[in-house]
Symmetry: C2
Subunit: 215 residues, 2 copies
Amino acid sequence: MHSNIPEVVIDRLPRYARALALLEGRGQQVVSSQELGSELGVTPAQIRKDLSYFGRFGKQGRGYNVRRLAGELKSILGLDREWMMALVGVGNLGRAILSYRGFAPEGFRIVCAFDCDPQTIGASFGDVCVEDVEKLRLTLRDRPVDIGIVAVPAAVAQEVVDALVESGINAILNYAPISPHVPADVRLRDIEPVLALQGMMYYLKEAGGSAKTTS
Amino acid sequence: MHSNIPEVVIDRLPRYARALALLEGRGQQVVSSQELGSELGVTPAQIRKDLSYFGRFGKQGRGYNVRRLAGELKSILGLDREWMMALVGVGNLGRAILSYRGFAPEGFRIVCAFDCDPQTIGASFGDVCVEDVEKLRLTLRDRPVDIGIVAVPAAVAQEVVDALVESGINAILNYAPISPHVPADVRLRDIEPVLALQGMMYYLKEAGGSAKTTS
């Protein structure tokens, strides 16, 4: 039923769900597409169109029931359950990821971590004890996870992604500054600060730049 | 001239530029939109359409000159110069950002860093000495930067963003797990691992999940 929904629509839904959770936390019971749109910086028409892919949520002129729409979106997105994650790479970035407090409240749990550095293997971060990356396939065979997080240097990222995919992982969050290749049935998202910066510089350049740097 | 170009187009250009730089590094002189598209996972038609916003780059049937197109895209995106950045928040995440080696080769340089922790203020990371966040406005007045990087907890992120905007910064890379509000003329990109994960879970859910977790 949902398979023909454009990926850009799916991409916007988590933001809607997050805004609704905020409204629910503030005790708000009903929200119009106007209000939700202004909260999110998108047009009300966009919100109505995106939601229309999944059925009828609001009554014309009455707005959306905040709690019900939040619940429906969580269910549509598969956010009403817990997802298990494996982290590969426990350098500075990997440690920041391990100590990131934004995952748990949303149901994402890092259950194992791997590194190749003998100094790091065996170290514990909360419940997670870092294992030798050589044991990745073995560990994930015994204890499958849903998601792999790649926080290794670019030079070994493709190799790590391949090992995760061979271990049956179908969703990868990639922090390495390359775009690894994955089979068509595997989802991969790049956390890419450089691409994000580069997309903004077009507008800074048009405005002349604030610091007027020349080099 | 460029102001009517859709943001999604601008967003794709850095990926094109990155793929072209790779091809150039491999010594390739000409590339077809087919080949560039298959490298990037987009259709050749998309590439031709995106590039058409900026003029005529290729000759029908002859492909693109790799070096020339790479150079043109860098110039269009403003990536042919150096951009100065200020980092706010020097915890685990901030340290990972400071030690990230992907910025410098692309012309992005962190020139100052701020924190509120007395243990961290005064510490040096490469060329950068961490200053008291109380001095942010003063320091940025004397030494303006182009970009602010926000790596502070969610609770203080809006306050930090406001201080950066008041200091004349027009581009912000936000790692905090909230979507801060900024004036219309300020660009802000969220580096948001949770939203990225949430956008993928829809597809895992549809496929049944690899680890079959229930909770």
